[in-house]
């Protein structure tokens, strides 16, 4: 079994197997709102294949990363609900 990666989701440490998408990590960390719409409404993943843009979150201080298309990397910092 390959070694697990350590990332942070909203400041909390999380250990995930290599190959985990950032979206899967967010959901397993218990976050239900991934982002906010322009009028402040909660948004979560819909298509999980890079088309709907609903799973965007801030990854390593870069806003609007499509988390369903991004694999976790060691020490990644993920912020939801921006």
């Amino acid at each position: 079994m390959p070694k697990a990666l350590s990332i942070r989701v909203n400041g909390a440490r999380l250990s995930v197997p290599p190959g985990t998408t950032v979206l899967a990590a967010i959901l397993s960390a218990g976050a239900s709102t991934v982002r906010r719409s322009v009028s402040g409404e909660p948004r979560g993943p819909l298509c999980a294949m890079g088309i709907c843009f609903e799973c965007r979150a801030t990854v390593n201080h870069e806003r609007h990363a499509r988390t369903c298309q991004l694999l976790c990397a060691p020490e990644m910092d993920v912020r939801t609900d921006d």
Partner: protein
């Protein structure tokens, strides 16, 4: 013969037509507005929505300055969805030559009553930290603003309607006569005066009119609040706007109230096709990245094109159509129609009512570039 239904019939509910309608209705004229597709759906929706004072010529300065003053007076009444943002413009100098031009530009603005402030290299960086290092400075014009223009056109149209103006939408004008217009359903609308405010489509109704389509591209990004704080324009912008033959691009970025960034600009004549031209879009983005390298990391959510109504001397046509009875023009505003719409409406009103205008109107009268035009 029965009297005309309207005093003034305005063709086109873009920002210019809407402003004319609001001004005429305010003066208690009976106003009709004929729009073929939607309110503010042409260049009004395609453009950047800047309210900016420009110094390409004395006449351009006079009109943009007068109009910006009117926008500033109206600002408190604008509904929230117009997104009036008094962010100011920074004209960014790319090299020392352009920095010398900044000093002249400041004197030009200030001696004519518009505030302007020189930024050196350091104060430019602190005003806009994401501009690339090493830029020599720029000129801040703090009273400039940006708006979301389609909602402003709707607001002005509603203002006119609340004072009795009638909106004919959707209605397509097929012919303008000295008694009014004929519509494509065969009916006619009668008026004392007709005002053609058809933007880039004006020459469709008036073949031979000196208004050409000038295509532009824009890109809007996802939301990155605070990344850019002012409207940013390269000082070389006028060089781009000036070219009358070549395709050109210029760095122009605006912050929107949503946190999105609106990115321009490109200019192309004789490009009738509204499809994205990827070669010029790529040039435009590359130009912007010369000034803001970090922009390349951001997601663009949409790009689109539009058509500016361009005249040979870069000034709009406001006044009687040469060789035509009872027909006035309010068109040819190129890329400045959002800024100059309100002043255009005042100058047009003054001519309809035989009043003196606040600025000299000769530079905008259509007879300077059009001989008689016949439908």
């Amino acid at each position: 013969m029965s009297p005309p239904v309207y005093d003034v019939l305005i063709i086109g509910a873009g920002i210019v037509g809407a402003a004319c309608a609001a001004a005429c209705a305010r003066e208690k004229l009976r106003v009709g507005i004929v729009e073929a597709e939607m309110i503010g759906g042409g260049a009004t929706a395609a453009g950047m929505g800047h309210l900016v004072v420009m110094d390409d010529s004395e006449a351009q300065f006079a009109l943009t300055h007068y109009s910006r003053t009117l926008w500033r007076e109206l600002a408190a009444k604008l509904p929230g969805d117009v997104e009036y943002d008094p962010c100011g413009t920074i004209w960014v100098a790319a090299d020392d030559d352009e920095m010398r031009a900044v000093t002249e530009k400041k004197q030009f603005y200030e001696s004519r009553g518009s505030r302007a402030e020189i930024l050196d290299s350091r104060s430019l960086r602190s005003a806009e930290p994401h501009l690339r290092e090493g830029l020599p400075g720029g000129l801040l014009v703090p009273e400039d603003a940006v708006i979301y223009a389609p909602c402003a056109a709707r607001f002005l149209t509603e203002q006119a309607q609340s004072r009795g103006a009638q909106l004919h939408l959707p209605s397509v004008v097929t012919e303008m006569t000295s008694e009014g217009v004929r519509l494509n359903n065969g009916s006619t609308l009668t008026s004392r005066f007709t005002v053609l405010a058809g933007g880039a489509w004006s020459s469709t109704l008036l073949p031979g009119l000196a208004v050409r389509k000038r295509k532009g591209h824009l890109v809007i990004t996802d939301r990155y609040p605070g990344f850019v704080r002012h409207q940013l324009v390269e000082l070389g912008y006028l060089k781009s706007a000036h070219s009358t033959t070549e395709d050109s691009v210029a760095f122009n970025v605006q912050p929107r109230k949503t946190g999105q960034l609106l990115i321009g600009s490109s200019r192309q004549y004789d490009a009738e096709d509204s499809a994205i031209d990827h070669a010029i879009l790529t040039r435009m983005i590359a130009r912007v990245q010369e000034f803001i390298p970090d922009l390349g990391r951001f997601s663009a959510v949409r790009s689109w094109t539009g058509f500016r109504p361009a005249t040979p001397d870069k000034l709009p046509l406001i006044g009687p159509a040469p060789g035509r009875e009872n027909l006035f023009l309010a068109t040819g505003h190129e890329g400045l129609g959002i800024t100059t719409s309100l002043a255009t409406a005042e100058l047009l009103m003054d001519q309809l009512l035989g009043r003196e205008s606040k600025i000299p109107i000769a530079p905008y009268l259509p007879n300077r570039v059009c001989e008689g035009v016949h439908a």
